[in-house]
Symmetry: C2
Amino acid sequence: MSAKVIPGKEDVTVVGGGVIGLSVAWRAAVLGRRVTVVDPEPVRGGASWLAGGMLAPVTEAWPGEEDVLRLGEASLRQWPKFARDLTADGADPGLAEHGTLVLAFDSADAGYLDVLAGHLRALGRDARTLTGREARRLAPGVSAVRSGLHVQGDLAVDNRKLLTALAEAGARRGVEFRRARLESLDGVPGPVVLAAGAWTGRLHPRLANAVRPLKGEILRLRPRRGCLPPPPYTVRAIVEGKPIYLVPRADGEVVLGATQYEAGYDEAVTARGVRELLEGAERILPGITEYELVETAAGLRAGSRDALPYIGEVGEGVYAATGHHRNGLLMAPVTAEAVVAWLSGEAPPDEVTAASPARLVEKERV
Amino acid sequence: MSAKVIPGKEDVTVVGGGVIGLSVAWRAAVLGRRVTVVDPEPVRGGASWLAGGMLAPVTEAWPGEEDVLRLGEASLRQWPKFARDLTADGADPGLAEHGTLVLAFDSADAGYLDVLAGHLRALGRDARTLTGREARRLAPGVSAVRSGLHVQGDLAVDNRKLLTALAEAGARRGVEFRRARLESLDGVPGPVVLAAGAWTGRLHPRLANAVRPLKGEILRLRPRRGCLPPPPYTVRAIVEGKPIYLVPRADGEVVLGATQYEAGYDEAVTARGVRELLEGAERILPGITEYELVETAAGLRAGSRDALPYIGEVGEGVYAATGHHRNGLLMAPVTAEAVVAWLSGEAPPDEVTAASPARLVEKERV
């Protein structure tokens, strides 16, 4: 990997030690910047630690959100190299290429899949429609499905391996970690990158009402002896109107997510959330009922006003890198590339333009 | 409290640091014995730590199990003094006198309640039948119930406070704790008390096939802001054929239990167990869906061949105090009293006779 040192530049402060902050810190350190990450609990303390790890812009695509798809796909294209560089510089983030199956269990679901498939084909994306029989052949153990969609381009990453690898690689490149919760940017030296997820709004007036917490609950399960293993794909479905996903990990664990509520800064795991996820998972994969439930957790995604994140300058030398909603892991490479480009006085990738925080001002002016 | 010191007696070894072992150890130490408790993880390591804490022989009574009821009631009568002595000697075990409501949600449940009520009345016990309306008045927030039964004599104890208090009181009386898992009694000095719960069968040939693990899953929930608090009673019901209970704790937490499986020495929390408990609790108390799920756990009760525990000598100076099934907390005082009586060469309470391990031999001889 090339390491272009930029001598004489000021230190960089990154607020937030989740996937965005750690990615920015590592990439900036690779380019020779002295970086400090400020976070009360880096790596494990935020939404990134609880994610499913789907890198799935296509499966999440929906008419009207083309800018999100474009940004997601730009980042997805960077993912294999990002993972290789990270492996070379720190540790393997556990990138998996198993693709996604989207399953329909009733006629309403099947209608949703038809819309999604049509939309993806209109965009020229690879999405193969499956009969119920074909879907069950790909994913033994799933319930009687009506139809499916196989999206081969989607990747998945082991979010915990990734965060650990990013922190290790950063530390080897000299990134320092300060365990603190910043309440203001007063006196913070050098360029500042705001990557504090759902908490970012507190740090800058431009983002104050632009970022909000979107609570999500997520479970981890593990097949016990005698259990059918999980399907070797990310499996997604809508169960009783709620999207649900199962992401297999290399170590045999399955990540089951995720609920979504507007509940303020509430990180309690609720009885309802756990029950709904377990019921939904059983509807998809009946054998999961015998799995061990190894973890229940809740976290706060950073929601934006639209579906796009905020990536760009919000003040002199202050860069936002937040509001990624469900897409933080997916969009980490392109976000880090853009921020590092600005720090170096270079041009960011084109696709990031749509995510500029300038749109907040434009809307306020209208 | 009187402390009758018996000088010159050998040291006592208690195998097992759950509620039975800790109760025996404390009572024996009060009488001046030098006691060592051997357990790889005393207090927190076993089924006692995961219990609901119902002291409810009457509500659990069933025709044909009169010996269990008699032993349970003998112990229940001792509970208030046992708790007072423990408070004086160590710490408050959190005894609560809120009684039990047994609720029926359909006609099958109502039929079960009728049988139970009739049985209890035939035994001369206090059990008041409630209409659905009366039950809801006692327990605001419960679903539309068909009928109920109010059993006022039942107590409940905070199992975790109790275990902590027993260990503290024991330690103050000189009880020593050795963190180890005994695989055999070879070389263990002095009288030995076998109180290792589901693991006791490994320690003595007489108990080898007599004690088996009965797996149970249990949850702890806590009302969040704006939630209706739980009813001020232990609430029991049969939901889809499965018994379920909700026990309120003084700190606001609710213990929700318990599944029961024959699953060998398997202590994994399963997706099914958690889902069934949450569904069952919602059926009883719909508002619980908004509670925080603070703990999921699984443990192994010690099952016996019949419904009675094994309390008595199984060999020269070797005493069994195990097989208490769901009744370990309830029966701890009477079990400890019996064991301490034998250690002192005195007569145990009459009600313990039915629990003698001699019945194992008798059955083998038949």
